[in-house]
Symmetry: C2
Subunit: 117 residues, 2 copies
Amino acid sequence: MAGRAALNPLTASTTIAAGADPERIATLAKALAHPARVKVVQTLLRRRSCIGCDIVEEIGLAASTTSEHLRILKEAGLIVGEIARPRVCYSLNPEAVAPLRVFLQLIETAPAPALPE
Amino acid sequence: MAGRAALNPLTASTTIAAGADPERIATLAKALAHPARVKVVQTLLRRRSCIGCDIVEEIGLAASTTSEHLRILKEAGLIVGEIARPRVCYSLNPEAVAPLRVFLQLIETAPAPALPE
DNA sequence: TCGGTTATTCGTATTTCGACGAATAACGAA
DNA sequence: TTCGTTATTCGTCGAAATACGAATAACCGA
């Protein structure tokens, strides 16, 4: 089952993704639908280790605003925050993006449309 | 450079995606951040051929609302609309999702965080 | 116990989104 | 030319998102 590692490209479960729950897909996409949140993820990609409030100055918004973006990412399951008082250590949850990734891959490998160019 | 077919999994250009333009990523994600728009894409995946106003009844919203969703998808480059008066023939533009897909793949293959569980 | 440090919540203002019906556009067919 | 069919644009409304500063919470160390 793994989850990570394999990154199963296009298997049986893929076909199902064609009819995957639109709500779920949309929710995941929405979590990444703001530049600040993408930046947060990119930061966590760069500095693999968890980060505290460094994220705040990294993306250049007020602490309260950043906290809200982190909340949204957390709610979507994309990141997790380990409390290490007085700070919080954030890190990515790589498996969370799978449904959206599969959906995109399905689009990308779709047969070219009839468009005669 | 192909574009489709290969679906280049994780190559040199991937690393760059770690610092990919957050605006671009966010814009793509935003286009898919609504269930109705995901449904439109799913419909176009199922019925590979282009569709006219069938999309309207497929997703069950008013024609004007649907048109707006289609506009957003078009603006993001995810779909194209070929005019065939008096109707419009929509189809997917599979290559458009590449940047977002690469970004997601990068997340998914990121080294597991330090979280000792 | 008392500050110091960091994160989150709260209240608020502004902007954007999402939905609808009505009106409009744009052509093929009769 | 006039009608019918389909898509889009427009005006509007309520809901949601975004941003901020102030206030609050929650611990660790002195």
